[in-house]
């Protein structure tokens, strides 16, 4: 049976993991390669690495890092941050990235989704969407959620699928950081609307929230960052809990 995926997300700045990481078995909490390998060993199903500096100066550092991750991590991983052209993606693919995620650049230039899907295949292209509810409408934001756009979540996700995105990574900015649970209603609607997998992001605060994302929200995967990084919830503990509650999960 196809299992639901648990995906830790790591923010990278200048080749290092940002935010403290609270693991006993990690020697260097800032090393994304060691941290990624450790998550893989603990049973993470995929990893996401986001380059949050994403300036030209740091591009080379990031590509080098991606190569190092690919060398040491034996599960699939997605990289994102600052990708705005097919040319940006080629070195990442060559370095061993399994998927790339695009966000602001796709909003600015939706054709980018078509171009990337055509060049590398849909399975390689994750469309990340940050949205917040404004006047009862899920409004897409760019630049780490700073800039509202005229795009709406559901029509944009659908357009992304039609243009060739292979997955949608939906982050509810209203829920992100609250630890009050994932945004269930839009997940349900996205699942009904789309034929491609949906990754839930934003709001994970405890084990039950993951159950809700998978059963009520029908998400295919769930992503979290600080919950895992600060050791509030370990992946083995979460997966064994989900398994015990009848969620199909890889143990």
């Amino acid at each position: 049976m196809l299992t639901k995926r648990i995906i830790p997300c790591l923010d990278i700045k200048n080749g290092r993991t940002v935010k403290g990481v609270n693991f006993v078995n990690i020697r260097d909490a800032g090393d994304p390669v060691e941290l990624g390998a450790s998550y893989a060993e603990q049973g993470a199903d995929e990893l996401v690495f986001l380059d949050i500096t994403a300036t030209n100066d740091n591009r080379k550092t990031f590509v080098e890092l991606v190569r190092d991750i690919a060398r040491h991590v034996n599960i699939p991983f997605t990289v994102g941050g600052g990708i705005s052209s097919v040319a940006d993606v080629e070195p990442l693919l060559e370095a061993g990235a399994d998927k790339i995620s695009i966000n602001s650049a796709a909003v600015r230039n939706p054709q980018l989704i078509d171009d990337l899907a055509k060049a590398f295949g849909s399975q390689f292209v994750v469309l990340a969407i940050d949205a917040r509810k404004i006047a009862n409408q899920w409004t897409v934001h760019t630049h780490g959620g700073r800039n509202p756009t005229d795009k709406k979540l559901f029509s944009w996700a659908h357009e992304g699928q039609n243009r060739g995105a292979g997955e949608i990574l939906f982050t509810s900015m209203d829920h992100d950081g609250t630890k009050q649970g994932f945004a269930i209603d839009p997940l349900v609607k996205l699942n009904e609307l789309l034929d491609i997998p949906v990754i839930a992001s934003g709001g994970a605060g405890n084990k039950e929230h993951f159950i809700h994302a998978f059963t009520l929200g029908k998400a295919d995967a769930a992503l979290a960052a600080s919950l895992f990084h600060f050791g509030e919830l370990s992946i083995p503990e979460l997966k064994s809990y989900l398994n015990g509650n009848g969620i199909p999960i890889r143990i």
Partner: protein
């Protein structure tokens, strides 16, 4: 020496890193002589069937692959291209396995591609019995139905061939290079074949 066939496949780098992690000597090559004299050959693959077959034909790699006598492992699209035909853009393939590759047809709003970790039921001994019910990573929209060459079955929408074997040809639909320790075990199983 293991030869990894060099062509426009997306996962060559991942396969190379997986072999590095296993401390295996390999070279990534499209040199016919080098491929022919390798102890084992890995035929990776991520991409679209038609473009890829055209690429292989232009370089006569399709004929070369079919005539190899040492153990050959096709991965993902590599496995599909070892069949005789793919529904993906109506593509005649290499034809080691006399089977047709079909597109997943969702029955109850299942997502396509089949993406993520799914479990294996081995039916042939080239796969260690301890990978039974273990999970491996899949990403594919097309599949090979269960047939006489099937050596492991996975279920998604319907049962399909997760692995196959015919003579010296081995094939897996999933990505052992991305399937954590279970995938490493399966690569080792292949490397033990002679």
């Amino acid at each position: 020496m293991i030869a990894v066939i060099k062509y426009n496949a997306g996962n060559i780098r991942s396969v190379a890193f997986a072999l590095e992690r296993l401390h295996v000597d390999f070279s990534i090559t499209d040199n016919p002589e080098e491929i022919q004299k390798a102890d084992k050959v890995i035929f990776p693959g991520v991409g679209e069937a038609n473009t890829t077959m055209r690429y292989l034909k232009d370089r006569k790699l399709d004929v070369l692959i079919k005539e190899l006598k040492q153990p050959v492992l096709g991965i993902c699209l590599g496995m599909q291209l070892l069949c005789s035909y793919s529904e993906e853009n109506d593509t005649p393939c290499i034809g080691v396995f006399d089977e047709q590759v079909k597109k997943f047809q969702p029955l109850q709003h299942e997502k396509v591609p089949h993406m993520g970790w799914n479990s294996l039921t081995p039916t042939h001994s080239w796969l260690d019995s301890d990978v039974a019910n273990k999970f491996v990573y899949f990403v594919h929209s097309y599949f090979v139905p269960v047939n006489a060459y099937t050596s492991a079955i996975t279920e998604y929408i319907q049962p399909f061939s997760a692995a196959m074997k015919k003579d010296n040809f081995y094939a897996v639909q999933f990505h052992p290079e991305k399937s954590a320790t279970v995938g490493e075990k399966i690569i080792r199983s292949f490397l033990k074949q002679s």
